[in-house]
Protein backbone atom coordinates (compact mmCIF):
# COMPACT_ATOMS: atom_id res chain seq x y z
CA UNK A 1 0.00 0.00 0.00
CA UNK A 2 1.20 3.51 -0.84
CA UNK A 3 2.33 5.45 2.20
CA UNK A 4 1.83 9.06 3.16
CA UNK A 5 5.42 10.19 2.60
CA UNK A 6 5.28 8.92 -1.00
CA UNK A 7 2.03 10.77 -1.61
CA UNK A 8 3.48 13.95 -0.12
CA UNK A 9 6.61 13.58 -2.29
CA UNK A 10 4.62 13.17 -5.50
CA UNK A 11 2.35 16.08 -4.75
CA UNK A 12 5.25 18.32 -3.78
CA UNK A 13 6.82 17.58 -7.18
CA UNK A 14 3.59 18.60 -8.89
CA UNK A 15 2.58 21.56 -6.75
CA UNK A 16 5.95 23.11 -5.90
CA UNK A 17 8.51 21.85 -8.40
CA UNK A 18 6.59 22.17 -11.67
CA UNK A 19 6.40 18.46 -12.46
CA UNK A 20 4.11 18.13 -15.41
CA UNK A 21 3.50 16.17 -18.55
CA UNK A 22 4.73 18.69 -21.07
CA UNK A 23 2.91 17.35 -24.07
CA UNK A 24 0.59 14.64 -25.29
CA UNK A 25 1.19 14.62 -29.02
CA UNK A 26 -0.87 12.61 -31.46
CA UNK A 27 1.03 11.63 -34.57
CA UNK A 28 -1.20 11.24 -37.61
CA UNK A 29 -0.26 9.87 -41.01
CA UNK A 30 -1.62 12.00 -43.83
CA UNK A 31 -0.20 9.87 -46.62
CA UNK A 32 -3.67 8.60 -47.50
CA UNK A 33 -4.96 12.18 -47.78
CA UNK A 34 -2.89 12.97 -50.86
CA UNK A 35 -4.92 13.63 -54.00
CA UNK A 36 -4.17 15.23 -57.36
CA UNK A 37 -6.62 17.99 -56.45
CA UNK A 38 -5.35 20.50 -53.88
CA UNK A 39 -8.84 21.19 -52.64
CA UNK A 40 -9.56 17.51 -52.08
CA UNK A 41 -6.21 17.03 -50.30
CA UNK A 42 -7.00 19.88 -47.89
CA UNK A 43 -10.46 18.48 -47.25
CA UNK A 44 -9.05 15.00 -46.58
CA UNK A 45 -6.46 16.40 -44.19
CA UNK A 46 -9.01 18.34 -42.17
CA UNK A 47 -11.36 15.36 -42.03
CA UNK A 48 -8.72 12.84 -40.97
CA UNK A 49 -7.19 15.02 -38.26
CA UNK A 50 -10.61 15.92 -36.88
CA UNK A 51 -11.70 12.29 -36.84
CA UNK A 52 -8.63 11.02 -34.98
CA UNK A 53 -7.78 13.95 -32.73
CA UNK A 54 -11.24 15.41 -32.13
CA UNK A 55 -11.08 14.30 -28.49
CA UNK A 56 -7.38 14.89 -27.89
CA UNK A 57 -7.70 18.03 -25.77
CA UNK A 58 -10.54 16.62 -23.69
CA UNK A 59 -8.75 13.33 -23.06
CA UNK A 60 -5.52 15.13 -22.12
CA UNK A 61 -7.39 17.34 -19.66
CA UNK A 62 -9.42 14.44 -18.21
CA UNK A 63 -6.37 12.26 -17.61
CA UNK A 64 -4.48 15.17 -16.08
CA UNK A 65 -7.33 15.97 -13.72
CA UNK A 66 -7.84 12.38 -12.58
CA UNK A 67 -4.18 11.82 -11.73
CA UNK A 68 -3.72 15.34 -10.45
CA UNK A 69 -0.82 16.13 -12.77
CA UNK A 70 -1.01 18.95 -15.33
CA UNK A 71 -0.97 17.87 -18.98
CA UNK A 72 0.24 21.21 -20.26
CA UNK A 73 0.09 20.89 -24.03
CA UNK A 74 -2.00 18.83 -26.38
CA UNK A 75 -0.49 18.76 -29.85
CA UNK A 76 -0.59 17.07 -33.23
CA UNK A 77 2.21 16.01 -35.55
CA UNK A 78 1.60 14.97 -39.13
CA UNK A 79 3.43 13.32 -42.03
CA UNK A 80 5.98 15.70 -43.59
CA UNK A 81 3.82 17.90 -45.81
CA UNK A 82 6.38 17.83 -48.64
CA UNK A 83 5.30 14.19 -49.16
CA UNK A 84 1.57 14.80 -48.73
CA UNK A 85 1.50 17.78 -51.08
CA UNK A 86 3.90 16.40 -53.68
CA UNK A 87 1.17 15.38 -56.12
CA UNK A 88 -1.03 18.46 -55.91
CA UNK A 89 1.23 21.42 -55.10
CA UNK A 90 2.67 23.19 -58.14
CA UNK A 91 3.55 26.55 -56.59
CA UNK A 92 4.44 27.95 -53.18
CA UNK A 93 0.93 29.23 -52.55
CA UNK A 94 -0.43 25.67 -52.94
CA UNK A 95 1.67 24.52 -50.00
CA UNK A 96 0.67 27.62 -48.04
CA UNK A 97 -2.94 26.61 -48.54
CA UNK A 98 -2.20 23.26 -46.86
CA UNK A 99 -0.45 25.21 -44.08
CA UNK A 100 -3.58 27.26 -43.51
CA UNK A 101 -5.72 24.11 -43.48
CA UNK A 102 -3.50 22.61 -40.77
CA UNK A 103 -3.57 25.83 -38.75
CA UNK A 104 -7.35 26.13 -39.00
CA UNK A 105 -7.80 22.49 -37.95
CA UNK A 106 -5.47 22.95 -34.98
CA UNK A 107 -7.42 26.01 -33.84
CA UNK A 108 -10.72 24.18 -34.25
CA UNK A 109 -9.52 21.27 -32.09
CA UNK A 110 -7.93 23.55 -29.48
CA UNK A 111 -4.38 22.18 -29.83
CA UNK A 112 -1.73 24.84 -29.41
CA UNK A 113 0.73 23.60 -32.03
CA UNK A 114 0.60 21.35 -35.06
CA UNK A 115 3.94 20.14 -36.42
CA UNK A 116 4.93 18.53 -39.67
CA UNK A 117 5.20 21.34 -42.19
CA UNK A 118 8.40 19.55 -42.99
CA UNK A 119 10.71 18.10 -45.57
CA UNK A 120 13.24 15.31 -45.06
CA UNK A 121 16.07 16.12 -47.41
CA UNK A 122 19.01 14.33 -45.83
CA UNK A 123 20.54 13.44 -49.19
CA UNK A 124 18.74 15.52 -51.78
CA UNK A 125 15.62 17.57 -52.43
CA UNK A 126 12.77 16.61 -54.74
CA UNK A 127 11.12 19.54 -56.47
CA UNK A 128 8.25 19.25 -53.96
CA UNK A 129 10.72 19.33 -51.04
CA UNK A 130 12.32 22.47 -52.40
CA UNK A 131 8.96 24.11 -53.08
CA UNK A 132 7.83 23.38 -49.53
CA UNK A 133 11.04 24.80 -48.07
CA UNK A 134 10.66 27.96 -50.15
CA UNK A 135 7.06 28.30 -48.91
CA UNK A 136 7.99 28.03 -45.20
CA UNK A 137 8.47 31.78 -44.52
CA UNK A 138 5.07 32.68 -45.95
CA UNK A 139 3.40 29.67 -44.29
CA UNK A 140 4.76 30.66 -40.87
CA UNK A 141 3.86 34.32 -41.38
CA UNK A 142 0.27 33.48 -42.27
CA UNK A 143 -0.42 30.92 -39.54
CA UNK A 144 -0.32 30.90 -35.76
CA UNK A 145 -0.03 27.31 -34.61
CA UNK A 146 1.91 25.71 -37.42
CA UNK A 147 5.45 24.43 -36.78
CA UNK A 148 7.96 23.60 -39.45
CA UNK A 149 11.13 21.54 -39.62
CA UNK A 150 13.61 20.43 -42.24
CA UNK A 151 16.05 17.55 -41.87
CA UNK A 152 19.20 18.35 -43.84
CA UNK A 153 21.44 15.44 -43.00
CA UNK A 154 21.98 12.13 -41.27
CA UNK A 155 24.77 9.81 -40.19
CA UNK A 156 23.88 7.40 -42.99
CA UNK A 157 23.57 9.92 -45.82
CA UNK A 158 25.82 12.85 -45.01
CA UNK A 159 24.69 16.48 -45.22
CA UNK A 160 22.80 18.04 -48.11
CA UNK A 161 24.65 21.35 -48.33
CA UNK A 162 22.26 22.71 -50.97
CA UNK A 163 19.48 22.36 -48.41
CA UNK A 164 21.70 23.90 -45.73
CA UNK A 165 22.33 26.94 -47.95
CA UNK A 166 18.62 27.21 -48.72
CA UNK A 167 17.72 26.99 -45.03
CA UNK A 168 20.06 29.90 -44.23
CA UNK A 169 18.08 32.01 -46.71
CA UNK A 170 14.73 30.59 -45.56
CA UNK A 171 15.40 31.50 -41.92
CA UNK A 172 16.31 35.06 -42.94
CA UNK A 173 13.13 35.39 -44.98
CA UNK A 174 10.97 33.92 -42.20
CA UNK A 175 12.50 36.50 -39.85
CA UNK A 176 11.76 39.30 -42.29
CA UNK A 177 8.14 38.30 -42.95
CA UNK A 178 7.43 38.26 -39.19
CA UNK A 179 9.57 41.35 -38.41
CA UNK A 180 6.62 43.12 -36.78
CA UNK A 181 6.55 40.39 -34.10
CA UNK A 182 10.27 40.11 -33.29
CA UNK A 183 10.73 37.61 -36.14
CA UNK A 184 8.72 34.97 -34.26
CA UNK A 185 8.33 32.87 -37.42
CA UNK A 186 11.86 31.53 -36.81
CA UNK A 187 10.88 30.31 -33.33
CA UNK A 188 8.64 27.79 -35.08
CA UNK A 189 11.25 26.54 -37.54
CA UNK A 190 13.89 23.91 -36.76
CA UNK A 191 16.67 22.52 -38.94
CA UNK A 192 17.67 18.98 -37.99
CA UNK A 193 20.30 16.38 -38.58
CA UNK A 194 19.19 12.81 -37.72
CA UNK A 195 15.63 13.96 -36.92
CA UNK A 196 13.64 11.30 -35.03
CA UNK A 197 10.35 10.11 -36.55
CA UNK A 198 8.56 10.10 -33.21
CA UNK A 199 9.46 13.40 -31.54
CA UNK A 200 6.51 14.84 -29.58
CA UNK A 201 8.17 18.20 -28.88
CA UNK A 202 7.64 21.30 -30.98
CA UNK A 203 8.76 22.92 -33.12
CA UNK A 204 10.44 19.84 -34.55
CA UNK A 205 7.64 17.27 -34.28
CA UNK A 206 6.52 15.41 -37.38
CA UNK A 207 4.98 11.99 -37.90
CA UNK A 208 7.63 9.99 -39.72
CA UNK A 209 6.88 7.55 -42.49
CA UNK A 210 8.16 4.70 -40.32
CA UNK A 211 5.16 5.22 -38.01
CA UNK A 212 1.69 3.70 -38.20
CA UNK A 213 -1.56 5.44 -39.06
CA UNK A 214 -1.89 7.21 -35.70
CA UNK A 215 0.01 7.07 -32.45
CA UNK A 216 0.22 8.88 -29.12
CA UNK A 217 3.59 10.10 -27.86
CA UNK A 218 4.18 11.81 -24.55
CA UNK A 219 6.91 14.25 -23.56
CA UNK A 220 7.63 14.50 -19.86
CA UNK A 221 9.49 17.22 -18.09
CA UNK A 222 10.57 18.22 -14.60
CA UNK A 223 13.90 20.07 -14.34
CA UNK A 224 12.57 21.68 -11.14
CA UNK A 225 12.19 18.28 -9.50
CA UNK A 226 15.78 17.26 -10.32
CA UNK A 227 17.08 20.62 -9.09
CA UNK A 228 15.20 20.41 -5.79
CA UNK A 229 16.41 16.87 -5.05
CA UNK A 230 20.03 17.82 -5.80
CA UNK A 231 19.77 20.97 -3.68
CA UNK A 232 18.27 19.15 -0.72
CA UNK A 233 20.35 15.98 -0.67
CA UNK A 234 23.43 16.20 -2.90
CA UNK A 235 25.42 19.29 -1.93
CA UNK A 236 29.06 18.26 -1.66
CA UNK A 237 28.22 14.63 -2.42
CA UNK A 238 30.47 12.49 -4.63
CA UNK A 239 29.65 11.75 -8.28
CA UNK A 240 28.21 8.35 -7.52
CA UNK A 241 25.61 9.84 -5.18
CA UNK A 242 24.93 12.69 -7.60
CA UNK A 243 24.38 10.37 -10.57
CA UNK A 244 22.28 7.87 -8.64
CA UNK A 245 20.05 10.68 -7.37
CA UNK A 246 19.46 12.09 -10.86
CA UNK A 247 18.76 8.60 -12.17
CA UNK A 248 16.21 7.80 -9.46
CA UNK A 249 14.47 11.11 -9.97
CA UNK A 250 14.35 10.64 -13.75
CA UNK A 251 12.75 7.25 -13.15
CA UNK A 252 9.96 8.77 -11.06
CA UNK A 253 9.28 11.57 -13.53
CA UNK A 254 9.17 9.20 -16.47
CA UNK A 255 6.76 6.82 -14.75
CA UNK A 256 4.20 9.61 -14.61
CA UNK A 257 4.61 10.12 -18.35
CA UNK A 258 4.24 6.41 -19.01
CA UNK A 259 1.01 6.29 -17.02
CA UNK A 260 -0.47 9.31 -18.78
CA UNK A 261 0.62 8.00 -22.18
CA UNK A 262 -0.96 4.58 -21.71
CA UNK A 263 -4.17 6.03 -20.33
CA UNK A 264 -4.47 8.68 -23.06
CA UNK A 265 -3.71 6.16 -25.81
CA UNK A 266 -6.37 3.75 -24.50
CA UNK A 267 -9.02 6.47 -24.31
CA UNK A 268 -8.20 7.76 -27.79
CA UNK A 269 -8.15 4.19 -29.18
CA UNK A 270 -4.77 4.86 -30.71
CA UNK A 271 -1.56 2.90 -29.98
CA UNK A 272 0.93 4.27 -27.45
CA UNK A 273 4.12 5.25 -29.24
CA UNK A 274 6.98 6.46 -27.09
CA UNK A 275 7.87 8.50 -24.06
CA UNK A 276 10.28 11.31 -24.74
CA UNK A 277 12.11 11.60 -21.45
CA UNK A 278 13.36 15.12 -21.75
CA UNK A 279 14.08 17.78 -19.20
CA UNK A 280 12.36 20.65 -20.98
CA UNK A 281 12.69 23.98 -19.19
CA UNK A 282 10.20 26.84 -19.28
CA UNK A 283 10.73 30.50 -18.43
CA UNK A 284 8.96 29.88 -15.07
CA UNK A 285 11.11 30.26 -11.97
CA UNK A 286 12.31 26.85 -10.75
CA UNK A 287 11.80 25.13 -14.12
CA UNK A 288 15.35 25.46 -15.40
CA UNK A 289 18.01 23.05 -16.68
CA UNK A 290 20.63 25.77 -16.07
CA UNK A 291 19.76 25.67 -12.36
CA UNK A 292 20.63 21.94 -12.30
CA UNK A 293 24.01 22.67 -13.90
CA UNK A 294 24.59 25.34 -11.26
CA UNK A 295 23.59 22.92 -8.53
CA UNK A 296 26.14 20.42 -9.88
CA UNK A 297 28.71 23.11 -9.15
CA UNK A 298 28.98 25.70 -11.91
CA UNK A 299 28.77 29.42 -11.27
CA UNK A 300 26.92 29.77 -14.57
CA UNK A 301 26.35 27.48 -17.56
CA UNK A 302 29.23 28.27 -19.89
CA UNK A 303 31.89 28.01 -17.19
CA UNK A 304 34.64 25.41 -17.71
CA UNK A 305 33.17 22.03 -16.79
CA UNK A 306 29.77 22.80 -18.34
CA UNK A 307 30.04 20.18 -21.09
CA UNK A 308 31.00 17.49 -18.57
CA UNK A 309 28.17 18.45 -16.21
CA UNK A 310 25.65 18.39 -19.06
CA UNK A 311 26.96 15.05 -20.35
CA UNK A 312 26.51 13.56 -16.91
CA UNK A 313 23.02 14.97 -16.53
CA UNK A 314 21.90 13.85 -19.98
CA UNK A 315 23.18 10.32 -19.50
CA UNK A 316 21.66 9.82 -16.06
CA UNK A 317 18.26 11.02 -17.26
CA UNK A 318 18.37 8.42 -20.01
CA UNK A 319 19.52 5.67 -17.66
CA UNK A 320 16.74 6.37 -15.18
CA UNK A 321 14.08 7.00 -17.78
CA UNK A 322 14.72 3.98 -19.98
CA UNK A 323 13.90 1.67 -17.07
CA UNK A 324 10.68 3.54 -16.35
CA UNK A 325 9.07 3.27 -19.76
CA UNK A 326 8.33 0.42 -22.11
CA UNK A 327 9.22 2.50 -25.17
CA UNK A 328 11.53 5.47 -25.21
CA UNK A 329 12.14 7.65 -28.23
CA UNK A 330 11.97 11.19 -29.55
CA UNK A 331 14.73 13.52 -28.44
CA UNK A 332 15.12 12.19 -24.87
CA UNK A 333 17.66 14.14 -22.82
CA UNK A 334 18.24 17.61 -21.44
CA UNK A 335 17.10 20.55 -23.55
CA UNK A 336 19.23 23.68 -23.45
CA UNK A 337 17.17 26.41 -25.10
CA UNK A 338 18.26 29.92 -24.24
CA UNK A 339 15.03 31.93 -24.31
CA UNK A 340 12.98 29.28 -22.52
CA UNK A 341 15.29 28.94 -19.51
CA UNK A 342 15.82 31.79 -17.05
CA UNK A 343 19.18 30.37 -15.90
CA UNK A 344 20.49 30.31 -19.49
CA UNK A 345 19.31 33.89 -20.04
CA UNK A 346 21.12 34.96 -16.85
CA UNK A 347 24.27 33.17 -18.03
CA UNK A 348 24.20 35.01 -21.38
CA UNK A 349 23.60 38.35 -19.65
CA UNK A 350 26.49 37.65 -17.26
CA UNK A 351 28.78 37.03 -20.24
CA UNK A 352 29.32 33.39 -19.26
CA UNK A 353 27.63 31.71 -22.20
CA UNK A 354 28.45 32.13 -25.89
CA UNK A 355 27.14 30.45 -29.02
CA UNK A 356 30.47 28.64 -29.36
CA UNK A 357 30.11 27.13 -25.87
CA UNK A 358 26.50 26.22 -26.57
CA UNK A 359 27.71 24.42 -29.68
CA UNK A 360 30.12 22.37 -27.56
CA UNK A 361 27.28 21.57 -25.16
CA UNK A 362 25.14 20.26 -28.03
CA UNK A 363 27.69 17.48 -28.56
CA UNK A 364 26.47 15.85 -25.36
CA UNK A 365 22.86 16.97 -24.94
CA UNK A 366 19.70 15.94 -26.67
CA UNK A 367 19.14 18.63 -29.24
CA UNK A 368 21.14 21.63 -30.35
CA UNK A 369 21.32 25.39 -30.67
CA UNK A 370 17.81 26.14 -29.54
CA UNK A 371 15.86 29.39 -29.28
CA UNK A 372 18.85 31.65 -29.70
CA UNK A 373 18.24 35.22 -30.84
CA UNK A 374 21.02 36.56 -33.07
CA UNK A 375 21.50 39.97 -34.73
CA UNK A 376 19.10 40.68 -37.61
CA UNK A 377 21.96 41.56 -39.95
CA UNK A 378 23.61 38.12 -39.62
CA UNK A 379 24.22 36.99 -43.24
CA UNK A 380 22.23 33.98 -44.52
CA UNK A 381 25.55 32.27 -45.23
CA UNK A 382 26.63 32.57 -41.58
CA UNK A 383 23.32 31.02 -40.48
CA UNK A 384 23.92 28.24 -43.02
CA UNK A 385 27.41 27.83 -41.53
CA UNK A 386 25.93 27.46 -38.03
CA UNK A 387 23.50 24.84 -39.39
CA UNK A 388 26.33 22.98 -41.15
CA UNK A 389 28.38 22.90 -37.92
CA UNK A 390 25.50 21.49 -35.90
CA UNK A 391 24.60 18.97 -38.61
CA UNK A 392 28.23 17.83 -38.71
CA UNK A 393 28.20 17.23 -34.94
CA UNK A 394 25.03 15.15 -35.32
CA UNK A 395 26.26 13.28 -38.36
CA UNK A 396 29.62 12.28 -36.90
CA UNK A 397 28.33 11.48 -33.40
CA UNK A 398 25.24 9.58 -34.58
CA UNK A 399 22.88 11.81 -32.64
CA UNK A 400 20.09 14.26 -33.30
CA UNK A 401 21.18 17.88 -33.53
CA UNK A 402 19.15 20.91 -34.45
CA UNK A 403 19.30 24.64 -34.99
CA UNK A 404 16.55 27.06 -34.07
CA UNK A 405 18.04 30.54 -34.28
CA UNK A 406 16.12 33.78 -34.68
CA UNK A 407 17.88 36.56 -36.61
CA UNK A 408 15.67 39.28 -35.19
CA UNK A 409 15.16 42.04 -37.74
CA UNK A 410 16.37 45.40 -36.43
CA UNK A 411 18.00 43.99 -33.27
CA UNK A 412 21.68 43.90 -32.37
CA UNK A 413 23.84 42.26 -29.69
CA UNK A 414 22.73 43.33 -26.22
CA UNK A 415 19.07 43.96 -27.17
CA UNK A 416 16.35 41.79 -25.71
CA UNK A 417 13.60 40.06 -27.67
CA UNK A 418 10.23 39.13 -26.19
CA UNK A 419 8.48 36.09 -27.70
CA UNK A 420 5.95 35.60 -24.93
CA UNK A 421 4.47 32.52 -23.28
CA UNK A 422 6.42 29.26 -23.38
CA UNK A 423 8.87 30.73 -25.90
CA UNK A 424 10.12 33.26 -23.32
CA UNK A 425 12.48 36.16 -23.98
CA UNK A 426 16.06 36.23 -25.14
CA UNK A 427 19.11 38.45 -25.15
CA UNK A 428 20.50 38.81 -28.68
CA UNK A 429 23.78 36.85 -28.83
CA UNK A 430 26.94 37.56 -30.78
CA UNK A 431 27.69 35.56 -33.92
CA UNK A 432 31.24 35.38 -35.30
CA UNK A 433 31.70 38.17 -37.84
CA UNK A 434 34.08 36.11 -39.95
CA UNK A 435 32.66 34.86 -43.24
CA UNK A 436 32.03 31.30 -44.45
CA UNK A 437 30.47 32.53 -47.67
CA UNK A 438 32.80 30.70 -50.05
CA UNK A 439 32.25 27.38 -48.33
CA UNK A 440 28.47 27.77 -48.31
CA UNK A 441 28.54 28.75 -52.01
CA UNK A 442 29.82 25.26 -52.89
CA UNK A 443 27.07 23.00 -54.20
CA UNK A 444 26.38 19.34 -53.52
CA UNK A 445 26.66 17.39 -50.31
CA UNK A 446 29.08 16.34 -47.60
CA UNK A 447 29.55 12.55 -47.83
CA UNK A 448 28.50 10.26 -44.99
CA UNK A 449 31.26 9.69 -42.44
CA UNK A 450 33.20 6.47 -42.07
CA UNK A 451 31.74 4.29 -39.32
CA UNK A 452 34.93 2.81 -38.07
CA UNK A 453 38.29 4.25 -36.87
CA UNK A 454 36.51 6.16 -34.10
CA UNK A 455 38.78 8.81 -32.65
Amino acid sequence: MINLSEVIETNRMILEENLDVRTVTMGISLLDCADSSLEKTCLNIEKKITRLAGNLVKVGDDVGREFGVPVVNKRISVTPIALVGATCCRKKSDFVRIAKTLDRTARKLGVNFIGGYSAIVSKGMTSADELLIRSIPEALAKTERLCSSVNVGSTKTGIDMDAVRLMGETIKEAAYLTRERDSIGCAKLVVFCNAPDDNPFMAGAFHGVTEGDAVVHVGVSGPGVVHRVLASSCRGADFETLCETIKRTAFKITRVGQLVAQEAAARLSVPFGIIDLSLAPTPAVGDSVADILKEIGLEHPGAPGTTAALALLNDQIKKGGVMASSYVGGLSGAFIPVSEDQGMIDAVNAGALTIEKLEAMTCVCSVGLDMIAIPGDTPATSIAGIIADEAAIGMVNQKTTAVRVIPVVGKKVGDTVEFGGLLGYAPVMKVSAFSCENMIARTGRIPAPVHSFKN
Partner: protein
Amino acid sequence: MNKIIITVVGVDAVGIIASVSSYLAKNKVNILDISQTVVSGYFNMMMVVDGSSSAKTFDKLCADLSRIGSDKGVEIRCQKSEIFEKMHRV
Protein backbone atom coordinates in the same frame (compact mmCIF):
# COMPACT_ATOMS: atom_id res chain seq x y z
CA MET B 1 -11.80 -1.49 -7.46
CA ASN B 2 -11.65 2.23 -8.15
CA LYS B 3 -8.90 3.28 -5.78
CA ILE B 4 -8.62 6.98 -5.07
CA ILE B 5 -6.16 8.82 -2.85
CA ILE B 6 -7.64 11.78 -1.00
CA THR B 7 -5.13 14.19 0.51
CA VAL B 8 -5.93 16.95 2.96
CA VAL B 9 -3.32 19.65 3.57
CA GLY B 10 -3.66 22.73 5.74
CA VAL B 11 -3.84 24.12 9.24
CA ASP B 12 -5.30 21.58 11.66
CA ALA B 13 -8.89 22.21 12.76
CA VAL B 14 -11.63 20.33 14.60
CA GLY B 15 -13.81 18.09 12.49
CA ILE B 16 -11.88 17.82 9.22
CA ILE B 17 -11.73 14.02 9.23
CA ALA B 18 -15.31 13.84 10.49
CA SER B 19 -16.72 15.92 7.67
CA VAL B 20 -14.72 14.13 4.97
CA SER B 21 -15.56 10.66 6.26
CA SER B 22 -19.25 11.39 6.77
CA TYR B 23 -19.44 12.71 3.19
CA LEU B 24 -17.72 9.53 1.97
CA ALA B 25 -20.06 7.28 3.97
CA LYS B 26 -23.10 9.10 2.63
CA ASN B 27 -21.86 8.50 -0.90
CA LYS B 28 -20.93 4.84 -0.43
CA VAL B 29 -17.18 5.41 -0.70
CA ASN B 30 -15.31 2.87 1.40
CA ILE B 31 -12.25 4.03 3.39
CA LEU B 32 -9.43 1.47 3.13
CA ASP B 33 -6.69 3.30 5.02
CA ILE B 34 -6.06 6.59 6.77
CA SER B 35 -2.76 8.09 7.86
CA GLN B 36 -1.69 11.53 8.92
CA THR B 37 1.35 13.55 9.87
CA VAL B 38 2.43 17.15 10.44
CA VAL B 39 5.02 18.50 7.95
CA SER B 40 6.50 21.95 8.69
CA GLY B 41 3.48 22.99 10.74
CA TYR B 42 0.95 21.74 8.20
CA PHE B 43 -1.52 18.97 8.77
CA ASN B 44 -1.20 16.27 6.09
CA MET B 45 -3.74 13.49 5.85
CA MET B 46 -4.13 10.78 3.30
CA MET B 47 -7.10 8.49 2.81
CA VAL B 48 -7.06 5.51 0.49
CA VAL B 49 -10.66 4.93 -0.58
CA ASP B 50 -12.59 2.68 -2.92
CA GLY B 51 -15.14 4.60 -4.95
CA SER B 52 -16.47 1.73 -7.06
CA SER B 53 -19.82 1.50 -5.21
CA SER B 54 -20.48 5.22 -5.31
CA ALA B 55 -23.10 6.65 -7.62
CA LYS B 56 -21.08 9.85 -7.96
CA THR B 57 -18.56 10.36 -10.71
CA PHE B 58 -14.90 10.95 -9.91
CA ASP B 59 -15.19 14.59 -10.97
CA LYS B 60 -18.25 15.15 -8.74
CA LEU B 61 -16.55 13.57 -5.72
CA CYS B 62 -13.51 15.80 -6.30
CA ALA B 63 -15.60 18.93 -6.58
CA ASP B 64 -17.66 18.13 -3.46
CA LEU B 65 -14.59 17.30 -1.37
CA SER B 66 -12.77 20.37 -2.58
CA ARG B 67 -15.74 22.48 -1.41
CA ILE B 68 -15.77 20.76 2.00
CA GLY B 69 -12.04 21.57 2.20
CA SER B 70 -12.49 25.23 1.49
CA ASP B 71 -15.25 25.43 4.16
CA LYS B 72 -12.71 24.09 6.67
CA GLY B 73 -9.81 26.17 5.35
CA VAL B 74 -7.81 23.19 4.06
CA GLU B 75 -6.99 21.92 0.59
CA ILE B 76 -8.47 18.58 -0.41
CA ARG B 77 -7.28 16.81 -3.56
CA CYS B 78 -8.45 13.55 -5.12
CA GLN B 79 -6.19 11.56 -7.40
CA LYS B 80 -6.45 8.09 -8.84
CA SER B 81 -3.97 5.91 -6.99
CA GLU B 82 -2.04 4.73 -10.06
CA ILE B 83 0.09 7.88 -10.21
CA PHE B 84 1.59 7.07 -6.81
CA GLU B 85 1.88 3.34 -7.43
CA LYS B 86 3.61 3.88 -10.78
CA MET B 87 6.00 6.48 -9.45
CA HIS B 88 7.09 4.68 -6.29
CA ARG B 89 6.92 1.00 -7.23
CA VAL B 90 8.98 -0.75 -9.88
